[in-house]
């Protein structure tokens, strides 16, 4: 069941991205920057004039993304290919990466949280979207911000579900429920994080 849902979700997200990129290319919305024009890490928002803290914010982002990719591959590869749960060294890598990931997320939410607040315009856009009204979305950061908050919200049940299973609180049934919470919230977290990263990169290219 989880395997099928995961496949479906990743295929939908990938197709959506492909269509999105194609439309952007056709409309000429993407501009490729010349080498030397910017810092070589421009794609992650790195600029020459950044302060130390700003650099740290970006490093934390990179670390979080790397951790997410590692955890995604360790957890989902076996599950998507053969519906096998991770064991052995793969599990150790996954578990070892988790604390780094959660610390990075903490740093990200503290450092980026303020910038990711919804502005009045975005708030209106958000309310408008909820009412299915057409809104002016040009240069809107709403989806980027929403996926950021969604990923942050999901990180709490993802981490706490596994943490709780390490205590002698839940029995076998409870453990199974916690595991289900972990895998489904992880799937949602990964999906929102991927969409967030895609939109963030797309924004850098614009």
């Amino acid at each position: 069941m989880f395997q099928a849902i995961s496949w479906a979700l990743f295929v939908i997200i990938s197709l959506w991205m492909l269509i999105h990129i194609t439309v952007d290319l056709v409309k000429g919305k993407i501009s490729f920057k010349k080498s030397g024009e910017h810092h070589r890490f421009w794609w992650c928002g790195w600029r020459k004039e950044l302060t130390l803290f700003s650099k740290l914010k970006r490093i934390a982002g990179i670390v979080a993304v790397v951790c997410l990719i590692v955890m995604f591959f360790t957890a989902f590869t076996g599950r998507l290919v053969s519906d096998q749960l991770m064991t052995g060294y793969v599990l150790m890598i996954h578990v070892g990466t988790a604390p780094v990931f959660i610390i990075s997320l903490l740093f990200l939410i503290v450092s980026w949280g303020y910038q990711c607040r919804l502005t009045d315009l975005e708030w209106k856009e958000f309310l408008g979207r909820l009412k299915f009204k057409s809104t002016n979305t040009k240069n809107s950061l709403l989806t980027i911000k929403l996926t950021f908050w969604l990923a942050m919200v999901l990180s709490v049940p993802v981490s706490l579900s596994m943490l709780a299973s390490m205590f002698t609180i839940f029995g076998t049934h409870g453990q199974e429920v916690l595991f289900s919470i972990h895998q489904y919230t992880s799937l949602a977290l990964v999906s929102s994080a991927f969409i967030h990263l895609y939109l963030l990169l797309r924004y850098q290219y614009k």
């Binding site: 749960l85 064991t87 052995g88 060294y89 150790m92 578990v95 070892g96 988790a98 604390p99 959660i102 610390i103 997320l105 903490l106 939410i109 503290v110 949280g113 607040r117 919804l118 708030w123 908050w149 942050m152 919200v153 990180s155 709490v156 981490s159 706490l160 943490l163 299973s165 390490m166 205590f167 002698t168 609180i169 839940f170 029995g171 076998t172 409870g174 453990q175 199974e176 595991f179």
Partner: protein, 646 residues
């Protein structure tokens, strides 16, 4: 007229015979059913001897009881004989899960061979070592339930039968199934007496004496080959007349469900860490301590196919389809550990689906990730001795002939049964096992090793093995065997197996301590690994410890996931007559099929687990607080927006 009378007489005779046969058939199995009344049935019964003659204690030479004829009057003897305890000698025997074998030991020739006719890996069939039914009884009848090999008397036209055995069988009689060995609740039932009679080759008398109904004088083993049991009385049976009523009937305290005390005679273990005078410190199996008996879980129908607790609701014990055919899975699985404690979802009976038979607590396994239940059997954490740095030893009733009292008591130490060994069972789960290291002289043909009968080895290499030495020195219970001795004996065996062109048709081998020894072209001894040298191990389930003494109880992961955990990294003793004084061990990981470096790394991560918990708790709490902060700000905005709309 005479012709008519003759015809009528013949017809009457025929009618009588048919009526008799029909009555006998009608009575057969009469007592096997259950009419639903829970009260026990009083067995005030007539006893019959093997000639189906009623036993009267007052006659001058009464014969011993025949269980086939006495119990068989109301119970289906043949159906019972198809059960686990009684069918192992038959051809196409049911294999079943690997179990405790018989072990043929001869310490003088440093031999211990696991024996079983069930085709278990590592065990040899009696026929492999030319062990006839008679020889089997001579070796193992002390803890033998009867039937099976006990009734395999060679027929008159059996040309392969040993002439001497052919003569001895009628003197000793058949060792019929001893129904009383299990179902007689009378405290007078004494299987040690049965063993004594069997040691005297008084097989016919074993059940009678064990029941306490009679005493027997004389030993079949001392009677000459031409003794006539029909006309001579070298063995005298004296019944306790006070046990018979005026109708020559006897009350036998027969119970449908055997008391545990009856099972114990053949199914006991002695922990050798604290044997003898400190035996009192040991606890019983938690089920028995709570008032249950063995047969509460190990149940059976008339066919006596006792459930072995290995058929779990969701796991077949192995690939033997025949084994599964022998049981009704929907019922048998309800009496496994998980079937009883967690329920059998496939059961027909609604209460069996729920589990909790006889008040079995339904375990919560708090803090234990479910993956453990896929990798480990229930017994891995709950049964046997708690693992220590090095494996311990036990003695078992059948292998070490425990429970023999008086002058025929034994104090066998070999073979050393190593326990607990956490190895992969046939269902792929790690389970605790008992284990012995086979040790024997044999021959290898086309890479297949077969043991040589000990009597043959004794003949071939009497001097080289020092058989004539009185009270040889023993180290670790073994008489030490040097490599020079092995080389000499192997040479002698090779000489024995030479063909006409002076080339040995089979290669002589010696198996011990997990190695196979052969002679190379230079006549030097070489040891190699071989499947035949692998230890023989069988899964164990008892004694079950209380939940609080289980591995991982109270979420103590370090019971197994620590760098010196005996469960994973314990040392398993290698038992061998070669340098027996030296400690030789193998890592437990070898048996569990585990990667030691991975488990070391995994155990290492548990050192950081408390830190990780703290980090994740703090980080999650802070993330939660930040989220709450922004959520409150969002609510603030909603409230303000709502307030602006007058």
């Amino acid at each position: 007229m005479i012709q008519i009378i003759r015809t009528l007489a013949s017809l009457m005779l025929l009618t009588c015979v048919i009526t008799q046969v029909w009555s006998a058939e009608k009575g057969k199995g009469l007592g096997d059913g259950h009419d639903g009344n829970r009260s026990s049935i009083s067995h005030v019964i007539t006893l019959y001897d093997e000639k189906d003659v009623e036993i009267k204690p007052s006659v001058s030479q009464p014969r011993p009881i025949s269980m086939r004829n006495t119990c068989g009057k109301c119970h289906d003897y043949e159906a019972m004989a198809s059960g686990w305890h009684f069918h192992s000698g038959t051809t196409n025997v049911l294999t079943g899960r690997v179990g405790e074998p018989w072990v043929l030991t001869d310490t003088r020739i440093r031999t211990q061979i696991p024996i079983s006719n069930r085709g278990w890996k590592g065990a040899y069939k009696p026929s492999d070592i030319d062990m006839s039914a008679w020889k089997f009884l001579k070796q193992f009848s002390s803890h033998f339930p009867g039937g099976n090999y006990g009734e395999m008397e060679p027929s008159d036209d059996d040309e392969d039968a040993d002439p001497e055995e052919f003569l001895r069988w009628p003197i000793s009689g058949k060792y019929e199934i001893n129904c009383l060995a299990c179902h007689h609740a009378d405290r007078k039932q004494n299987q040690s007496d049965s063993a004594l009679q069997a040691a005297r080759e008084n097989f016919r008398w074993a059940a009678t004496v064990a029941s306490g109904l009679a005493t027997v004088k004389g030993a079949a083993s001392e009677l000459d080959d031409f003794y006539d049991p029909e006309t001579e009385y070298g063995i005298v049976t004296s019944y306790d007349k006070s046990r018979f009523d005026a109708n020559n009937k006897v009350f036998l305290d027969i119970v449908r469900k055997p008391p545990s005390n009856r099972c114990y005679y053949c199914h006991s273990n002695q922990d050798l860490k604290t044997p003898g005078k400190y035996e009192w410190i040991h606890n019983e199996d938690v089920h028995l301590a709570s008032g249950m008996s063995c047969s509460d879980c190990h149940r059976n129908g008339v066919d006596h196919m006792i459930t072995r607790g290995d058929i779990e609701p969701n796991h077949n014990p192995h690939s033997s389809s025949k084994y599964l055919e022998a049981f009704d899975l929907k019922k048998a699985a309800s009496y496994s550990c998980s079937g009883c404690h967690l329920g059998n979802p496939n059961a027909v009976d609604a209460s069996n689906k729920m589990g909790g038979h006889l008040g079995a607590p339904i375990p919560e396994h708090k803090g234990i990730p479910p993956i453990h239940f896929e990798k480990l059997s229930c017994t891995a954490c709950h049964s046997g001795k708690l693992p220590e740095g090095k494996t311990g030893r036990v003695r078992t009733a059948r292998i070490h002939k425990l429970g023999l009292h008086g002058k025929h008591a034994m104090n066998k130490q070999l073979p050393h049964v190593i326990t607990p060994v956490f190895a992969k069972a046939e269902n792929g789960k790690i389970s605790p096992h008992n284990m012995i290291w086979p040790s024997f002289w044999g021959v290898k043909t086309n890479d297949v090793v077969k043991p040589l009968p000990p009597i043959l080895v004794r003949e071939i290499a009497s001097d080289e093995l020092g058989l004539e030495t009185d009270n040889p020195e023993r180290l670790n219970d073994w008489i030490e065997l040097s490599e020079e001795q092995i080389a000499k004996v192997l040479k002698l065996i090779n000489d024995e197996y030479k063909s006409e062109d002076e080339k040995p048709v089979s290669e002589a081998v010696y198996i011990a301590g997990g190695s196979l020894f052969v002679l190379n072209n230079k006549g030097e001894i070489v040891s190699t690994a071989h499947e035949a040298a692998e230890p023989y191990k069988w899964p164990i389930a008892h004694d079950v410890r209380p939940a609080s003494q289980s591995l991982g109880s109270n979420g103590n992961c370090a019971d197994c996931h620590s760098q010196d955990s005996p469960f994973i990294f314990g040392n398993v003793e290698i038992d061998t007559p070669i340098k027996p004084g030296e400690e030789q061990t193998l890592s437990m990981t070898e048996f569990g099929g585990l990667d030691p470096s991975y488990y070391q790394s995994f155990a290492f991560t548990f050192l950081f687990r408390p830190w990780m918990k703290v980090i994740v708790i703090i980080a999650s709490a802070l993330i939660g607080l930040v989220l709450l902060l922004f959520a409150l700000k969002g609510i603030d905005r909603i409230v303000k927006t709502a307030g602006k709309n007058k």
